[in-house]
Amino acid sequence: MARLGRRAPDRTGSLTAMARLGRRAPDRTGSLTAMGRLDLRAVRDRARRFADEELAPRALELDARAAADPAAFDWEIVRHGAREGLLSLMVPKPAGGRGALAAETAVVMEELCAGCPGIALIFGANALGMAPLLLVGGLAPWDGVLAELVAAERRGEPELMAFAITEPDAGTDVEDPELVRRGRVTTAAHRVAGGYRLSGTKRFISNGSVARWITAFMPLDRTRPAETMTCFLVDTRSAGFAVGRVEHKLGQRACPTAEIVFDDVFVPGERVVGRPGDGMGATMMVLAMSRAPVGAIATGIAAGAQRRLLRWLEEDPAGAEALHDQHVQLELAHMEQDIRAARGAYLAAARELDGDALGGALRHPAVRLASAVPARVRRAPLAQRALRSARARDVTVRLLHRTTDDVRLTRALAASSLAKAQGADVAMRVTGAALDIVGLHAGPVRAELEKLWRDAKLTQIYEGTNQLNRLEVFRGLCHPQPMAILPPLHAAAVEAVTR
């Protein structure tokens, strides 16, 4: 980290540099919230400029290209994002990234999605793939895969990550610890000398056809998926890994969604993320962390639609006439109401995550101490062996138990789910209403709004359907019933069921 130069001059004007500048700005209250707000404004402005200049102008073109060939993928736009530090957004600073937590990530995603949700999803899915490493992976990935990804980003040869839980017969099932017990999980991992062999098919994997690394969840025992679910870091260059069908989607097409096939893929034991059997808890933590940004994605889609509509109303003669109609004025005001409410919901959820629910672990003195250790020391073989040991994995779980609990996590998951469902509904309503106002106008504004409307629908579906998300709101906020999210404290219990 020191070598990467936290105090290096900002030659690129990148988001990373912007964030660093923000953090050095005066903080009158000294509170995290105040500091966070100051950062977020600068981060939002910068992300919006990037989205306006790089994403929006290419949105229709990449959408059309992927409509003709769903497997089409534009690495050039990824390189643009890499130059902005978008691939290492959530990578901890000691590993060379920006160390963004949920709020910062969400704000960036909102602005990117106002430009093009499909392109933004490439970066969002990458962050989602990293999330298990950050939440339950301990310190080992800092100098492993995360450092590699940061180095690739800086070389201008970016590599992507993906997150794989959904299966052909198990969608909602694998996002709920109760449903998964009765679900039809068909993937499985079994132990072999030195690691595990993974088999089965995952479906609807964003970045699935282009990712270099995938965090994939599979049970060690199909008959007890809740107790034995395990997260693996899979190298997609491994023998037996294959990309199946790339889906012909309605929207968010610039980011390919693929079926991925594991045919006895070997994963070394050191690439188990967290402890074997802790996968369901990890999944729930990842969802808590990712749903607020999905709310932001949806908010960005709505905001993007409103901006395009306003521009058309103000600049096109046909629009100017409509702008004087009171119905249109009221509709614009309604959009503003909805967008602000959705933004407030995702920011509130993200701040809860960054504060009590998950941020405590990242601010824990032990983690700060580890951050201060020079990378060359952490990368020494002895240190690496220690960081990858079963004991280190136990320490990560103990740290989580010391800094959070199931009550806080359940509440945070619920707040995040609320933000996701709220934002998604707003995105559908606002894009639909914007399209209604423009009608069948032949100009590009209709095509742009139609695309955003198609894009918006996915936000009601991914990261759990809105219905599942509302059930989390019921369980976490309306009628609190803490879920068992944290992995069990004692590894012995886990070992017993997985053996």
């Binding site: 449903l179 309605l250 559908m428 009608g439 032949a442 095509a447 009601q460 359907t465 059930l471």
Partner: protein, 354 residues
């Protein structure tokens, strides 16, 4: 002359249309959606072979003279299989109905014409216009239509980004002749009281635009209300298909150890679809009742929009994929909300419509 059709005859016709739609159109729906020319041509030929293209025309114009209510029921049946083609059939029938009987009779079987609705504004895409052999412009109540005949100085620039109802291919209409260059008719408040195509005063007052202007003014058939009613029928067909797909999927897709149709969240969505079908909007009793037709179009297309969005939701991720056939319904339904004009404009007109 319009036929008198008994309830029994009507049921027979509707059953026949349903059988045809299931047999011929449903299997081709995905190809029609992708603009497959061969599939489109074959389906159009089948429609013509059954006489569905001329079902609305009076006998003297070479048609079957079906009452509009029965014709709308047939359009709904076609739409329950393939909404875009159903709309194309409706636009063709209405275009011919707007022509003088002898002109309509002269349109060869197999040709596809389209009605360009009065509210279509300049620089808007016009459904059914791309690839059409002839266009009839305007056709609002009380006003004479203008006609763009085959071989005339007009063209349609197809819209490659058409979102829905793709079997009624859309484009921007341009004419180098008598019709305004930017396209066609002005909509909403710009519609002249008499309902004539407006714009640049370049269109002769006569109903039919021809090079020699020799054709006398056409009668003023009231097709505008039927156009809205037909759009409503298409929307109801979409609701039916979406409900059918969603209920089938909910019965067979298992999550949490049972069919998803057993879960309250899904049951409520399915029930809401059933309610929309049971409380389907009333079609206008009179073919000239524009107010009722506008109301039917707004209500039916709104129902289609809600139902198809929920149907995709029932399918989850699978519904977002083209194979499911359900995302297509969502796109088709959205265009029913926007066509012939967006619902908010149709609502605004409703209060002043006779």
């Amino acid at each position: 002359m319009t036929l008198t059709v008994t309830a029994g005859d009507r049921a027979l016709l509707v059953d026949a249309a349903r059988g045809f739609a299931r047999r011929e159109l449903l299997p081709a729906a995905a190809r029609l959606d992708h603009g497959d020319r061969e599939a489109t041509h074959r389906c159009w030929e089948s429609v013509c072979a059954l006489g569905l293209d001329r079902a609305l025309l009076d006998e003297e114009a070479g048609g079957a003279g079906l009452p509009p209510g029965v014709w709308l029921a047939l359009i709904e049946e076609l739409a329950a299989a393939e909404a875009g083609l159903a709309l194309a059939v409706a636009l063709h029938a209405l275009a011919l109905r707007a022509l003088p009987p002898d002109a309509a009779a002269a349109v060869p079987t197999g040709a596809r014409w389209a009605l360009v609705p009065a509210p279509a504004a300049r620089d808007h895409i016009v459904l059914g216009a791309a690839g059409a052999d002839g266009l009839v412009l305007g056709g609002h109540a009380g006003g004479p239509p203008a006609v763009l005949e085959p071989g005339g100085d007009w063209s349609v620039t197809a819209d490659p980004r058409q979102l829905g109802l793709r079997a009624a291919p859309a484009g921007v209409v341009r004419s180098d002749g008598a019709v305004p260059p930017a396209g066609v008719v002005r909509g909403d408040d710009a519609i002249p009281p008499a309902g004539v195509v407006r714009g640049d005063d370049a269109i002769p007052p006569a109903g039919v635009v021809r090079d020699d202007d020799a054709v006398p003014p056409a009668p003023a058939p009231a097709v505008e209300a039927l156009l809205y009613a037909a759009t409503a029928a298409v929307a109801i067909g979409i609701v039916r298909r979406a409900y059918e797909l969603a209920t089938d999927y909910a019965a067979t897709r298992h999550q949490g150890g049972g069919p998803i149709g057993h879960y309250g969240a899904v049951r409520q969505m399915l029930a809401a679809m059933a309610v929309r079908l049971e409380a389907r909007p009333r079609m206008p009793a009179e073919e000239t009742d524009l107010r009722a037709a506008l109301a039917a179009k707004v209500a039916a297309s709104h129902a289609a929009g809600r139902t198809t969005i929920d149907a995709v939701q029932v399918f989850g991720g699978s519904g977002y994929i083209a194979d499911s056939g359900v995302e297509k319904l969502m796109r088709d339904a959205k265009y029913c909300e926007l066509y012939p004009e967006p619902n908010w404009r149709a609502r605004a007109r409703l209060l002043s419509a006779a």
